[in-house]
């Protein structure tokens, strides 16, 4: 065993320890000072070239990135030295998009919660996605929130009389996987080929009969029918391959009523009031249908938790809450016929292949 350092020399160590701990917070560009404090090191501790370069960069070009200017973004500069709203200079496709400003968020809150407007109407008024409208919550102040809003772009609330700038596109059409295929489909030139027909081709449905096709003047005519009665959508294919016919974009966008409004405006440019009236009626019908559908879904979910009827079964199982009495769970509550978790009995999630991480959290 190698001889240990004697106690005398250990006491000599103490000043070294204290001095090093105080210099450690220094910027390591002053490496000459740390050299003298190291009594035992054979070689002088050298800062690596990379570290030196980094601190040089942080002191010169990167110095502006340390603190932000309120109300301005402060991202890395692009290769040509220009400042932009792209946080990553190498990725030209990622843009730091504005978030809702505090005033705009409060305005949404006021319109939905206090003025009782529908999320659909507020979405069109302010140009905010309907999901985002639903997510706006109660206010409470913090310095952190203020600092973050100084660093990132925000969409301001328009002053009275000004037109509100749209926060984001509200009529995004999700690209359906069925439309990924390239299909060669010959059509007679004499026959108009509309978005409805394209959807049918993509989902492999036969062409519409002439009588049915003549009834539809524009694909947006389908929107209201589908919304009122989603079961009117046609099905194609058998068994597992059964699928609904792909609907035209006019139906699948979040705000189909805006297409009908644009059509009305083009057809009756003089009758502004009548057009607005029809639009309001349409909106009302739409909201009513949505509410009814939500109620029906909730009702169905409630019924399905109370009663379960497996397919291919003659039986329906009624499910009731467990009752914890001496008869149902035994004297000690651990009778073999008792429901729920019992001490000594391994839980089901210990079996192989069972994942314990929840997949959803219900509100």
């Amino acid at each position: 065993m190698a001889p240990r350092i004697q106690s005398r020399s250990v006491s000599n160590l103490l000043p070294y320890l204290t001095s090093s701990s105080s210099t450690s917070s220094h910027i390591p560009s002053l490496c000459s000072s740390s050299q003298s404090s190291r009594h035992f090191s054979v070689t002088a501790t050298q800062q690596t070239k990379l570290r030196r370069q980094m601190f040089e960069w942080l002191a010169t070009q990167g110095a502006g990135l340390k603190h932000h200017t309120p109300g301005d973004t402060n991202y890395l500069r692009m290769a040509d030295g220009s400042q932009s709203n792209r946080p990553f200079p190498n990725n030209s496709y990622f843009i730091s998009e504005p978030v809702l400003s505090e005033e705009l968020r409060n305005e949404v809150y006021v319109r939905v919660k206090e003025q009782n407007k529908s999320p659909r109407a507020v979405s069109v008024e302010l140009g905010i996605d309907m999901n985002r409208i639903a997510a706006v919550g109660d206010p409470l102040a913090l310095p952190y929130a203020r600092a973050v809003h100084e660093m990132i772009p925000t969409t301001p609330l328009a002053q009275a009389g000004e037109r509100q700038t749209y926060h984001e596109p509200i009529n995004d059409l999700p690209v359906h996987p069925a439309t990924g295929a390239q299909i060669f489909y010959p059509v007679p030139e004499s026959r108009p080929f509309t978005r409805i027909d394209a959807g049918r081709v993509f989902s492999g449905a036969p062409m519409l009969e002439k009588k049915a096709a003549d009834k539809i003047s524009h694909p947006s005519d389908l929107a209201e029918d589908v919304l009122q009665k989603p079961s009117t959508i046609e099905w194609v294919g058998k068994g597992e391959k059964a699928r609904q016919v792909l609907q035209p974009a006019d139906v699948r966008i979040p705000h189909p009523q805006l297409v009908q409004l644009a059509r009305d405006r083009a057809a009756f440019p003089e009758e502004r009031r009548a057009v607005a009236q029809r639009h309001a009626e349409r909106l009302e019908r739409q909201e009513k249908a949505e509410k009814e559908r939500a109620a029906r879904t909730a009702d169905r979910r409630k019924r399905s938790t109370e009663t379960i009827k497996p397919t291919d079964s003659r039986f329906a199982f009624r499910i009731q809450d467990a009752v914890f009495t001496e008869q149902t769970v035994g004297k000690d509550g651990r009778a073999p016929w008792a429901p729920g978790r019992r001490y000594g009995v391994p839980r089901n999630d210990r079996t192989r292949g069972t994942v314990k991480i929840p997949t959803r959290v219900n509100v």
Binding site: T48, M54, L58, G62, L65, K66, H67, H68, T73, N74, Y75, L76, P89, N90, N91, Y93, F94, I95, E97, V99, R105, N131, R132, A135, G137, P139, L140, L142, P143, Y144, A147, V148, H149, I152, P169, N171, D172, L173, P174, V175, P177, V187, E189, F193, I196, D197, A198, H218, P219, S220, D250, I253, H255, A262, A266, I357, P358, R360, V361, V363
Partner: protein, 441 residues
């Protein structure tokens, strides 16, 4: 899980972190060389770089199971275009319209492969980092494991929980302030230690506890003779400095101003009618102060008189107190000097706008007090280099006030942009996407 994700300079890998090392690496990132390298080598390098940033805390096998070759995308539709044409114009002739459309906008490509790592954005720890609630994904992960995060109101301890559209997650605001706030200096740390020691000492007697509470609010009767209007003017100038958006004002300077401002506000409060106002909570103090200010603005002359009366009373009582406090900040002392020289200042000089600024400064002071018991530097300020990483993707709706965010939908690509925040360009993401396809390119 051991953290192998170092920010080494020699490797130059980019991490989901706000570290300055990471910033430097990000700045010097260049597309990897492709000349003299096989396609396999190119893909290998690309996926290694990509995975160092996207879900380095996720095992490779786990990520492979998550990967999906199907990429979500949307096309923003123009309702007037939809209304103008039912599709037959475009499909006329040989299937691409009878004549070339003149108005055709320059069509942008949809950057599909920039979305290669999109499934990882669903993870709870990544979403917390993206909402700017943590300074790195590792830290976000720690917050989840330590029980500081709730999903839909229930505590969630699994960082790998995959958020569903509409899920609301919330992080303990104190943790967020710690994660995003500047670190303490050694002087602040010393003050924290002293505070802690004092707390331990004072636990013995009740009297000491009272003294401590007084110390904590730093309430000391002032022995100076001041004019109320001057105090107000000094308050005003400091408030302006605090609220100024001028980048020339250094953070340290601003902090100094804030301290002085705080003291001045206390001095004004000590003059108010109620004697318990200084020991009251901040809310009550604030309302009292704003009440006094508002009254002064509404009825100028009588308010001034009453102010002077109260001042004379104050000076009488204050004369008994011989204790002299430390010097206030230079702005305030200047104002006091002006008052001593007999310069007359009118309180009516303050316009509505100035009152508004003063009010805002007061609010800020109330929200952001100096408190050495906190684990971050107070008053809170963002940590260094945070602004270079500050952005919030569109698929999240974040409310910083309550440190809560909603995962609105899955990230999507659209013409010209992709919502997955990735520091890499197509030269890295495309080969990485190809690597993870089941039928590899």
């Amino acid at each position: 899980m051991r953290n192998r994700a170092s920010n080494s300079l020699s490797k130059g890998k980019i991490r989901q972190s706000w570290s300055k090392y990471n910033l430097y690496n990000l700045q010097r990132l260049r597309s990897p060389a492709t000349a003299n390298r096989t396609f396999f080598q190119q893909k290998w390098t690309a996926k290694a770089l990509g995975r160092a940033y996207h879900g380095e805390q996720v095992r490779e096998g786990q990520w492979k199971r998550m990967f999906s070759k199907r990429i979500r995308s949307v096309i923003p539709m123009d309702t007037s275009d939809l209304a103008a044409d039912d599709g037959s114009k475009i499909s006329a002739g040989r299937g691409s319209g009878l004549q070339n459309q003149e108005k055709g906008r320059p069509s942008k490509i949809i950057p599909y492969t920039q979305m290669a790592f999109a499934p990882l954005e669903r993870r709870l720890d990544v979403a917390i980092f993206r909402s700017l609630f943590a300074s790195s994904t590792r830290q976000a992960r720690q917050f989840v494991i330590h029980g500081a995060v709730t999903v839909n109101g229930q505590k969630m301890r699994h960082p790998s929980y995959l958020l569903n559209p509409g899920d609301l997650f919330q992080v303990d605001p104190e943790r967020v302030m710690f994660a995003t706030g500047a670190t303490k200096t050694k002087f602040e740390r010393r003050e924290t230690r002293q505070l802690k020691q004092k707390d331990e000492k004072d636990e013995d007697s009740e009297e000491a506890a009272e003294a401590k509470s007084e110390e904590a609010t730093e309430t000391k009767p002032e022995g100076e003779k001041e004019d109320g209007r001057d105090t107000l003017k000094a308050l005003m100038s400091q408030a302006k400095n605090i609220m100024s958006t001028d980048k020339d004002v250094l953070p340290a300077k601003r902090k100094q101003e804030l301290r002085g401002f705080q003291k001045a506000v206390r001095r004004v409060l000590s003059r108010s009618g109620t004697s318990t106002i200084l020991t009251d909570n901040l809310e009550a103090q604030f309302s009292e102060l704003t009440l006094m200010l508002n009254a002064k603005r509404a009825e100028k002359k009588p308010a001034k008189q009453s102010k002077q009366q109260s001042n004379s009373e104050e000076s009488d009582s204050a004369a008994a107190v011989t204790e002299e406090t430390e010097v206030a900040s230079d702005k305030l002392s200047e104002a006091f000097q002006a008052a001593a020289e007999g310069a007359d200042v009118d309180a009516s000089e303050l316009s509505d706008e100035e009152f508004e600024i003063l009010k805002r400064a007061l609010t800020q002071m109330r929200d952001n007090p100096i408190d050495h018991s906190k684990p971050y530097a107070t008053p809170w300020r963002p940590r260094d280099y945070m602004s270079a990483f500050a952005f919030i993707p569109r698929y999240l709706e974040v409310n910083q006030n309550i440190c809560a965010a909603v995962y609105l939908r899955h990230p999507v690509a659209r013409p010209g942009s992709a919502e997955v925040p990735t520091p890499f360009g197509e030269s890295i993401n495309t080969p990485a996407y190809g690597w993870y396809l089941k039928r590899r390119w």
